[in-house]
């Protein structure tokens, strides 16, 4: 048995076939099937990852109408509960301020007696225009794009944020 193995090893290393090419048929088939399995595996990972990300979402729409401008008195803050947005009307015009705290996403509340927007979770405080007064919130509340529809209603687009100074004059 041992003798046979030895002679086999000798012919394998010194045989004319292996000298002709470094890659045998078996090695070639092994490598090409490993590559095919690798590609198929990678494809499975990509397909599954794509599958995990939903295409249709049943969430509230990001654009909404907030009614006629006459509903909001000058120097008022009105909370739109379904959309988690404050409609703030100042002497300059209208702002749409996010009610979602920039810290960890809790919903802030407008406190009319102190004229502050306060977060119940971790105590952040904001001015009526969304400017940060007290942490732990890292940033001021963002302002969303606000415009008028042709029939004279306020239209808020939560996908677009604008500068704090930008107000809609009516």
């Amino acid at each position: 048995m041992g003798e046979g193995e030895e002679s086999g090893a000798v012919t394998r290393t010194a045989g004319p076939e292996t000298e002709r090419s470094g890659l045998g048929r078996r090695d070639f088939l092994n490598e090409i099937s490993a590559a095919a399995l690798g590609i198929a595996g990678l494809g499975a990972v990509v397909v599954t990852t794509r599958y995990l990300s939903p295409n249709a979402l049943f969430e509230p729409p990001m654009t909404f109408r907030a009614g006629s401008p006459d509903l909001y008195p000058i120097n008022s803050v009105t909370y739109i509960q379904d959309q988690q947005v404050y409609i703030v009307r100042t002497a300059e015009g209208f702002h749409a301020v996010s009610a979602v705290c920039t810290h960890l996403g809790c919903i802030t509340q407008w406190k009319p007696d102190t004229e502050l927007i306060a977060c119940p979770c971790h105590g952040s405080k904001f001015k009526p225009d969304g400017g940060k007064l007290e942490g732990p919130a890292p940033r001021s509340l963002p302002h969303f794009a606000i415009s008028l529809t042709p029939d004279g209603q306020l239209l808020v687009d939560k996908l677009e944020t604008v500068n704090q100074g930008q107000a809609l004059r009516v």
């Binding site: 995990l52 990300s53 939903p54 979402l57 049943f58 969430e59 960890l104 996403g105 809790c106 979770c121």
Partner: protein
């Protein structure tokens, strides 16, 4: 004598063909056949053939790993029973949780068994980790098993976190809102991971269903595999760490 009659009857039973076909061995009459009965048992096969006497003392482990494992088993059993009454849909999930507390027979007992055991398992796993750490259990040859243990700690916490959403009450909703916002604070990958985890931009029906599947199927399966490796490696690494001065 009653005992010898029972003994003789059990020996006769062990000699039958049916018994031998199930247990692969006959009567345990000698020390050799008795030890083979232990070595060849599926439920004992993780146990070492011999252990150091020191590692059997209470102070060696306080049985913290065993306590964690038995709590995991208890959580699996009670969790499966809770699944029989729970629908992972909004707002039905909250109503089912209320039904379990007030309508289903012994539902409040099972739910609290699951809930309290879930709290205790976090404490037990942390305590186990500290105990192993202070005994030097992370040192060679136990380094790999220490890493497996850290993965199991993270799995325990993630199981705890995913289970927290399932009652679908205000506490659950805001805890998951805050928690997933912490994830989204991670640069670049944060937002996509939050979106995949919630199946959307906010904590809604998709999030509830995903957390349910993670909590009831994916995480327990991964944990069971890691627990198996963890136990196997304790044995293969030569048992517990025994401090130098006690060897």
């Amino acid at each position: 004598m009653a005992t010898s009659t029972i003994y003789a009857a059990s020996e006769r039973l062990r000699a039958t063909r049916v018994w031998k076909s199930i247990f692969r061995r006959g009567p345990a009459l000698t020390n050799r056949t008795r030890s083979i009965a232990i070595f060849g048992n599926l439920f004992y096969h993780l146990m070492p053939a011999k252990v150091r006497e020191q590692s059997l003392s209470v102070r060696a482990t306080y049985y913290l790993g065993s306590i964690s494992f038995y709590l995991f088993a208890l959580l699996a059993v009670t969790g499966i029973l809770l699944m029989l009454y729970y629908h992972p849909a909004a707002p039905q999930a909250y109503l089912d949780m209320k039904d379990l507390r007030f309508v289903v027979s012994n539902g409040v007992f099972l739910r609290n068994l699951h809930r309290v055991a879930a709290h205790i398992v976090v404490v037990a796993v942390f305590w186990h980790m500290f105990h192993v750490f202070y005994r030097g259990g992370y040192r060679p040859p136990h380094e790999f098993n220490w890493v497996v243990g850290v993965v199991l700690l993270l799995l325990t916490l993630f199981l705890s976190y995913t289970g927290y959403l399932l009652p679908w009450d205000q506490l659950a909703f805001w805890a998951i809102t805050v928690g997933t916002n912490i994830i989204s604070a991670m640069p670049v990958l944060g937002q996509p991971i939050r979106f995949l985890l919630l199946g959307g931009n906010l904590v809604g029906e998709n999030a509830l269903l995903r957390f349910y599947v993670l909590h009831c199927v994916i995480l327990p399966l991964i944990a069971a595999i890691f627990i198996g490796v963890h136990f196997w490696r304790i044995r293969k690494d030569g048992g517990l760490t025994i401090p130098e001065n006690r060897r």
